[in-house]
Symmetry: C2
Subunit: 133 residues, 2 copies
Amino acid sequence: MLNSYEPLYLQLADLLRERIIDGTFPAGSPLPSEQALCDEHRQSRMTIRRALAVLRDEGLIMKRRGAPSTVRPRPARKALPLRGEQRLISRMPSRKERIQLDLDPGVPVLEVRHVGGGSDLYAADRVEVLSTI
Amino acid sequence: MLNSYEPLYLQLADLLRERIIDGTFPAGSPLPSEQALCDEHRQSRMTIRRALAVLRDEGLIMKRRGAPSTVRPRPARKALPLRGEQRLISRMPSRKERIQLDLDPGVPVLEVRHVGGGSDLYAADRVEVLSTI
DNA sequence: CCGGATTTGTACGTATGTATT
DNA sequence: GAATACATACGTACAAATCCG
């Protein structure tokens, strides 16, 4: 943690992201506790938590109160064919939508708009859209 | 701010979200400064900032250092037709991707994967995907 | 264009509550 | 029930970017 040009929490996020990608922390495994990361990297808990928030917002880890953060396993994606003149919008959900769909923070939604009006909402990490041309 | 069952920062986020949606804070307009919000709602600056972070992550506001947060105007979306056997993945970008594409935090990306390999990346709030059936 | 005032960003500390283990 | 771990929320200080006269 010597680079002084970049915020500490981003440097730590980069470090942890590498370890997730290179398999040091495999999918489903727990990260060290916030306190352990504080001790290991000599940073305050707030800095640690900000780094973890970055990774959560990238969809890389899951956080649960009382339990250590875990590396998010890639969920199985179902095919979602676009039909007819449907249009598809990707965006972040409102908090209500997130709660209703039981989504984790940091996961976008896909909103499929139908011609006659109305729309369906999908967790973006659980579907894969394919053209039906 | 009387409801004690919900965190203060979420209650404040709900309040500000309402005012954005109902037009009290129109698109492009600045929100009150963090200090003004502290005074008005009798909360610490950290609580204010967490509420603003919620709205930023929902794509509702933009934050810029040194300048007050502003209501994000809906960017004009370009049509993005899905062709052939292309597949489309929606997800949050890594920080590098976000910087390379000059995206604001809280905006998902659409990754279009081509049959032969390779993929294109789009800011999800700047494109609208349509089926080409 | 400069410089001060304002505003947001980073980083630390402390205390207490709540969920999980 | 106890220990562990994360969540909320208050505070302080200083840095960096923007704004404005």
